[in-house]
């Protein structure tokens, strides 16, 4: 029988999960949990493959589980799943350390990257070449943005909290909706359609790739996770969003708008079966680890204000209810 905990899933959660796994392995008599990466979706799929020792115990996820995943789980006999929120991940905008300073609003991003924008109430194809064209307060630097590719959960947050928000903020949403006869979905789709003329570059790789690309294109702006930025502050200069500088504090307080919760999902049927599983998840959400002064926070995770509730839920093994 398997005697180590196996987890899989999000590459965003991966660094935190490894930090915890390492500390767990070193302080407990259990073997160190195995943490696979491979993406949130793939991790949840693996979780839902069934019950038994050749299926994983925990799926890490940078987005909430989907109904289709829950259905798949149920189909395979995985009926009780525990949803554990471990904290928040801030998403920041940064450029080369020696470049200009930027203070963005979501509307700037929308007007810089959207395929169609609204100028004087008219819908027209976006031809802004520099950030100054978008907003006279921004430097007259060519627009070149490295945004996460559509495989990344981060892209969903970027679309929603930056582009869509910018779309609404700038009033373009209304015009789009009007143009589509009030169809909000169509309007949203128009909002999130990005330029394809090479100004907005999708990155399918990791933040290290974005960093390397910024190194090769000094005038570019990239999208990063807060923890990545904090580890590379000597190379990157962070931009403010709506006047707020991203930090664990500003994100925890909700001031900084672009962030998302991180989760892991536990297969309850494996609790008590896989040695160390219960201990591991309790250790993960303990104050020592996930608290505001724990190693996760020092690595850049925004600690969850409702951690106590999570700890209690984990102790009681409360499975998640239906998605609201």
């Amino acid at each position: 029988a398997r005697d180590n905990v196996q987890t899989a899933g999000s590459s965003t959660v991966l660094p935190y999960a490894t930090i915890v796994a390492e500390a767990f392995g070193e302080n407990f008599d259990f073997p160190t949990p195995v943490v696979e990466s491979g993406g949130s979706g793939a991790g949840r799929k693996k979780l839902c493959e069934g019950v038994g020792e050749n299926t994983i115990d925990i799926a890490n996820s940078s987005s909430r589980i989907k109904q289709s995943d829950i259905d798949l789980c149920a189909e395979n006999g995985v009926t009780e799943i525990m949803e554990v929120r471990i904290g928040y991940d801030g998403i920041v905008f940064a450029s080369d350390i020696d470049g200009a300073d930027f203070a963005f609003t979501p509307a700037d991003w929308f007007n810089a990257l959207a395929k169609d924008i609204v100028v004087d109430g008219e819908v027209k194809a976006n031809d802004n070449a520099t950030w100054a064209d978008v907003n006279a307060d921004l430097p007259a630097q060519e627009i070149l943005a490295f945004v996460p590719g559509t495989k990344h959960g981060t892209r969903e947050v970027f679309d929603e909290k930056v582009i869509l928000a910018g779309c609404e903020e700038s009033g373009a949403m209304e015009v789009f909706a009007e143009q589509n006869g009030g169809d909000e979905d169509k309007a949203e789709e128009m909002c999130t359609a990005l330029r394809t003329d090479g100004v907005s570059v999708d990155i399918d790789g990791d933040y290290t790739e974005t960093l390397a690309r910024i190194d090769a294109n000094k005038n570019a702006i990239g999208v990063f996770g807060l923890s990545f930025y904090e580890n590379n502050m000597d190379k990157l200069k962070v931009a403010t969003m709506s006047g707020v500088t991203p930090s664990t504090e500003s994100i925890a307080s909700g001031e900084y708008p672009v962030s998302r919760p991180l989760f892991f999902y536990v297969k309850n049927a494996h609790l008590d079966v896989i040695p160390g599983l219960q201990e591991y998840i309790e250790f993960f959400v303990s104050d020592d680890i996930a608290g505001p002064n724990g190693p996760l926070a020092s690595y850049g995770l925004v600690s969850d204000p409702e951690l106590a509730a999570t700890q209690e839920m984990v102790a009681n093994r409360t499975p998640m209810g239906p998605l609201e």
């Binding site: 979706g41 006999g77 559509t150 008590d272």
Partner: protein
């Protein structure tokens, strides 16, 4: 008896058979091997094969068939009317786990068979006990399931015993039968060669099995995908633009185009350089240069592709952009088909060079002599005599390189970017089918969405596409093959 031990015994019997067979063959002709049809060792071989092969085949068949036979027996006991097939499947999975668990439980707790029969799901915390020995059960154990599990366990146990006895019997019978067949005129060589030939055939069928496996593991999810996303759009749409909230455009053509374009440029780099390098190594280089340069170049094939990717991203991409794309007015993207193609070409050089070098080297010297004797220069001989003679092997090498090019991900991701585009401009960012298979499969989208499932459809499409290319290549090689001697 464990399978490993069983195997060991069977092979041991085989070895004994070999020795006995060899001895008996020699004895049958009073020690004069010339009177035998085959070599004495071949008689030994035949006994070995007769002992081992049928027993192993039986073992394989048994291992494949026994679980489903037992399953079928047990299934009857948990089947009740009105229960759906999938629910029964689930129950059967539980039965399997519990019956395995009972074994572990007995071993861990020193239980006897009687204790086990006495055990009922009601009277103790069975789930907890099973958990303690590392067996996960989804819910509390139902009595029917528990009975079925016990039934299964006893079936499995007796099946194991039967298996051991049966296989040893077959091995012994094979041994005895083969021994009786040993006579001076017994065609031992033919028999053992027939068996070896069957093994060779079997090996070549692994390729077919792999293909079947690949197609099967792709086809169901592909069908699932086409239920969610119209096939017409997949095959006919010219845009690739997946979205999170649905409404994605998943046209395959930009990806196929990117694949072809990148591979083409990569081959444009790898084939001439690789072929010329092979020619130089085989025909011009001194033995020393060759023995150093060839393994050195082969290192190129072993460098992890991520190194190439970073090389493309950091060095080649910006260089091409600054010195070619921008001055020529072909855009200012630092990731481009050209970048990825060039760098990938470097990686592929050894695939072309090493194999071609071996093949060129094995063209008989008399061909070279014939050409030199007519006053041809080395290069003329190479171009007009040696290369045509080596053509099939060279084509094989190029095909191998092309295959790697099509299957490569990391270099494309970092060198060519992630944007799917239909463009002729080699300095534009594009992407390939393979890259998108990886990224869609490992992405954050939910599994049952078209955005993820498209990976399977892409895999299958690429498979069919390359199959076409390979048929074409086979046809060309057949047409131009020249056989020396």
């Amino acid at each position: 008896m464990s399978i490993g031990l069983l195997l060991l015994i069977v092979v041991g019997l085989g070895v004994i058979g070999y020795i006995l067979g060899r001895r008996r063959a020699l004895a049958s002709v009073a020690g004069d091997p010339r009177k035998l049809h085959s070599l004495p060792s071949q008689y030994g071989q035949s006994v070995f094969l007769f002992t081992v092969v049928p027993a192993l085949l039986l073992l394989i068949v048994w291992l494949l068939a026994a679980p489903s036979v037992i399953d079928g027996q047990v299934r009857g006991t948990v089947t009740t009317d009105g229960v759906s097939q999938s629910e029964i499947d689930l129950k059967m999975a539980d039965v399997g786990r519990i019956s395995d668990g009972l074994g572990a439980l007995m071993a861990a707790n020193d239980m006897s068979e009687d204790d086990l029969t006495a055990l009922t799901p009601g009277d103790s915390d069975l789930r907890g006990q099973l958990a303690a020995v590392g067996v996960a059960v989804g819910a509390d154990v139902e009595p029917a399931v528990f009975e079925a599990a016990k039934h299964k366990r006893s079936l499995t146990n007796s099946a194991g015993l039967i298996r051991t006895v049966l296989i040893l019997l077959v091995a012994l019978a094979g041994l005895a039968y083969a021994m009786t067949r040993i006579r001076p005129d017994f065609r031992a060589r033919n028999v053992s060669e027939a068996v070896v030939k069957a093994l060779l055939l079997g090996s070549s069928l692994i390729a077919i099995l792999t293909t079947v496996g690949i197609v099967l593991s792709l086809i169901f999810e592909t069908m699932h995908f086409f239920r969610l996303y119209p096939a017409k759009d997949f095959f006919l749409s010219l845009t690739w633009n997946p979205q999170f909230r649905g409404g994605s455009d998943l046209g395959v053509w930009p990806l196929i185009w990117g694949t072809l374009y990148v591979s083409f440029i990569a081959l444009l780099v790898a084939v001439p350089i690789g072929l010329l390098a092979a020619i130089y190594l085989a025909e011009y280089a001194t033995k020393r240069v060759r023995s150093v340069a060839k393994p050195l170049i082969e290192i190129l094939a072993g460098i992890p592709t991520i190194v190439y990717g970073l090389f493309a991203l950091i060095t080649v991409g910006p260089m091409l952009r600054d010195y070619f794309a921008q001055p020529l007015g072909l855009g200012n993207s630092s990731s481009s088909v050209m970048t990825a193609g060039l760098v990938m070409g470097i990686m592929l050089i050894p695939f072309v060079s090493s194999l071609s070098d071996d093949i060129i080297n094995s063209v008989p010297q008399s061909m070279r002599d014939g050409s030199y004797g007519l006053g041809a220069t080395k290069s003329e001989s190479i171009k007009q005599v040696i290369l045509p003679a080596a053509l099939p092997g060279v084509v094989g090498a190029v095909l191998l390189a092309a295959s790697r090019a099509i299957g490569e991900t990391m270099i494309v991701v970092l060198g060519a970017g992630a944007a799917a585009k239909l463009s002729m401009n080699p300095f534009e960012a594009m992407t390939t089918v393979t890259v998108k298979i990886v990224s869609q499969l490992t992405g954050d989208t939910e599994f049952a969405s078209p955005e993820t499932l498209v990976a399977f459809a892409l895999g299958l499409t690429l498979f069919v596409f390359t199959l076409g290319l390979n048929v074409l290549a086979l046809y060309i090689v057949r047409k131009y093959r020249e056989q020396y001697e």
